[in-house]
């Protein structure tokens, strides 16, 4: 049953996504591919839309996947599931477990979780850059525009950080990439 699948899938995402939205992306991708709700390209489009709209990325993605699979009810189910663990855990901490954050065993576990999540996110980013900008070169017919766009975007994005000491907002980068995409392809 799709609602149960959505609920379980996004409950897992909500329960294991330590470290914010970007940590959740690999998890959501795993879950989505596992249940066959979308392929990798559709998934990346969903991430882009979720980045360009307001609100928490994880909630956006849950709503998106849920409603694309099973309409309003699907969206509600997935969103409820992804929010539930965070909500309950915060209440639990505030009401009964005030000391857990200072607990050394809990800190030891966190000490392992954070670098692991960081490694997963970097690998995920590398994989997506490879897939969308390097791999097209080796396809038939080969496409040299994608790596050029990737170069331009990286220079703009990381360059703006160094030159103006201020990071370019993700929305601006996505808009520029959309314009480049329309011009190039």
């Amino acid at each position: 049953m799709i609602y149960l699948e959505l609920f379980v899938g996004f409950l897992i995402v909500g329960l294991f996504s330590f470290g914010g939205a970007y940590a959740a992306i690999p998890l959501i991708r795993d879950v989505v591919l596992f249940f066959g709700w979308a392929n990798e390209d559709v998934m990346t489009n969903m991430i882009a839309v979720s980045e360009s709209t307001p609100g928490p990325l994880m909630v956006n993605l849950a709503t998106y996947v849920g409603s694309s699979q099973a309409g309003v009810l699907g969206g509600l189910t997935a969103t409820f599931a992804v929010v539930l663990p965070a909500f309950l855990i915060i209440l639990l901490i505030m009401i009964v477990l005030k000391k857990i954050l200072a607990n050394k065993y809990f800190q030891a576990i966190l000490g392992g979780l954070k670098p692991c999540v960081t490694g997963i996110i970097i690998a995920m980013g590398c994989h997506m850059v490879l897939q969308n900008s390097i791999m097209p070169v080796f396809q038939q017919p080969s496409d040299f525009l994608a790596p050029v766009i990737a170069m331009i975007l990286s220079v703009l994005f990381f360059g703006s950080k160094i030159v103006w000491k201020k990071k370019m907002s993700p929305i601006v980068l996505i808009l520029i990439s959309a314009v480049l995409g329309v011009i190039a392809f």
């Binding site: 692991c116 690998a123 480049l180």
Partner: protein, 205 residues
């Protein structure tokens, strides 16, 4: 006189306050682009400086708690602030409020986007956007790495999870990243237990 303002006063205030929390978090949900981390300064501005619902120190606590617990950071913050102000119902109001705008916006988009993607130039735009998404994710990972304390064991965990995740992606192995996370948690706990308690004290900031 005491009866006059004693009984109905707090009751009305309660509903009003919960409504205010709800509306405030709708605003926060509607105007923050870029996910939870972008939300923290805005929540600080509205909840600490303007409304004085929580103190600066409490805000710091929320940030640490939010980073150490699973789930969207915005939800963690909303639940915390709502509960501090008005208990369970405050927490529900704040959480619902912060989720509502994204839900409505994304739901509308999900109805139209598939047809929208049939148009050639839109599909091309998304080809470009997919490249940007990769760069953004890579950047988020690098930023987390820069912030991390560079000790031997965390670095080993990071390197292993990076290599394994790359292999999983390249060969499309059927191995979820959840297991990597669980393994890292157990591994870190075991190392801690072997090294004993002193390192726990030294490890804290």
């Amino acid at each position: 006189m005491d009866l006059g303002d004693g009984v109905p006063g707090p009751k009305v205030n309660n509903t009003e306050m919960i409504m205010k929390i709800f509306l405030t978090f709708i605003k926060i949900g509607l105007f923050t682009f870029g996910g939870g981390y972008a939300m923290i300064p805005i929540i600080e501005n509205i909840c600490v400086e303007k409304n004085k619902w929580i103190t600066h120190d409490e805000m710091m606590d929320v940030t640490v708690i939010a980073e150490s617990t699973p789930g969207p950071i915005a939800i963690n913050c909303a639940t915390y602030v709502g509960y501090k102000q008005k208990g369970i119902w405050g927490a529900v109001a704040a959480t619902l409020g912060v989720v509502l705008p994204s839900f409505i916006i994304i739901f509308l988009i999900s109805i139209f986007l598939d047809d929208f993607l049939e148009i050639t130039w839109v599909a091309n735009a998304f080809k470009g956007i997919r490249i940007a998404v990769g760069i953004l994710i890579l950047d988020a990972g690098i930023r987390m790495f820069v912030k991390m304390k560079k000790k031997v064991i965390p670095c080993i965990i990071l390197a292993c999870s990076f290599v394994l995740m790359m292999l999983i992606n390249i060969f499309a192995w059927n191995f979820s990243s959840i297991f990597l996370i669980l393994i890292a948690a157990v591994f870190s706990l075991v190392i801690f237990l072997i090294q004993g308690a002193p390192s726990g004290k030294g490890g804290k900031k």
